[in-house]
Point group: D2
Chain length 144, copies 4
């Protein structure tokens, strides 16, 4: 189970399908990495997203904000840090910072506000035991 | 309703997300165009894939064969021709030929063998009224 | 050539590759539709993105903001409206509103701030003739 | 450096972006995993695909064959085995077998014939030092 202040980390090696003809990662691909990072963050808290779905809940992206600072290239290894910025009864906000492992450059920052839905896709409260695992932590990098 | 020998046509303008750093369409993207072509072919026969799913059936790709002859580039318009090569009780084989609209070059050919499943994802016979709409036609280009 | 206040429109029929297991469009797919809408908007102004690249310029997404209001489903037709919100020497901000054609529901709104780069991927001023075509228009829907 | 008979292995955890509304991986996504597997196979032989490109060569998919046997689901871990089936002066054929790690089920098999191109995208001979690293091995599973 995660403690206050946990920032999870996943790494991803950029593959050929993700690069566009400018030779950098196409901007939409990052969203998949954020998704993977968020799911691993949930798993670290002791409840995987798969289990959350099995219990009849979904978390959907309601708002997305992203800043692209530098491009990642083919075969770069990228570290995605993920943390919880805010928890409310029906909404969880995650923050993300993406660095290139090789030179430590900050590539992008992002936030996603997630809404909780029930199995019929209606707004729902996040179950207490899940909400209580989602502890917020201050942003480790500036997000704006 | 389609008659024997129908070859349907869809066109697609190549967008930036589909191009890799060689400046040509990444090979996996074509499969989405085949999917769109196949669904439009079904729609032309008088039954859309959406309706097929609403009736409790799915058609899944069981086998795929594809030959890539020339690369498509950003902003190219590509014509995808689609036809039925073979219909059996549990299997439908579609053929595809992809040309660039601008210069008429043949870019790729493909076949997909589709299996029919029921709502529980078990093999199923294609309903007679659907099967009877899927009339085969000879290959308009050489597929091998 | 576009006049002040132009809002361009593209439509997209949701295909199977875009849907996730909740039965709605996966949130990252919308970014490709925005890209297509932006390129068609440029084409309407009399200069396609392909020509812009041929002249040695690139426009890259520097900031992205998106709000997801309702999910689009398989086979839905979606209308993407696109307009210019702001033009500066090195930055253009586009706005987007996505509606389902069938029932007119607003599905999502978005903004992207684009930076101009030269062929070496260094920040560059947008050529005057291009900038002068990019006329701003007030938001047709509330973006926040 | 690899020896004769090397079969490389990569694993991939299925993420949400890869699943369609049938609840299984959309068939086009597998091609990205094959690409990653092929690149890791090259890396194991002592020359990464990135280095190959830096030396002015590209390997492009010329033919693709795939059989889908069972669907992979969200959060499944999938093992992709990759090996060289055939090496000729301008063509390398890779084989692939995909198993689910959890229950060992064979999910799919595939082959891709790769052509070598030079930096101008013209057919080229694979450099001798690269070709000599690509040793063939018998298929570990039946591919047909």
């Amino acid at each position: 189970m995660t403690s206050a202040g946990t920032i999870s980390e996943t790494t991803h090696r950029v593959n050929y399908s993700e690069i566009d003809q400018m030779g950098v990662v196409y901007h939409a691909r990052y969203l998949v990495w954020l998704d993977v990072a968020r799911c691993e963050h949930l798993r670290l808290t002791g409840l995987s997203y798969r289990e959350l779905e099995e219990r009849g809940f979904r978390m959907v992206v309601a708002e997305l904000g992203m800043r692209y600072l530098r491009g990642a290239r083919y075969d770069d290894e990228v570290r995605v840090r993920c943390w919880v910025r805010e928890v409310a009864s029906r909404k969880v906000v995650f923050g993300y910072a993406l660095h290139r492992v090789g030179d430590g450059e900050l590539l992008a920052t992002a936030t996603t506000a997630m809404f909780t839905l029930d199995a019929s896709m209606r707004p729902a409260r996040l179950p207490n035991d899940v909400a209580s695992r989602l502890l917020t932590t201050p942003d480790p990098v500036r997000i704006d």
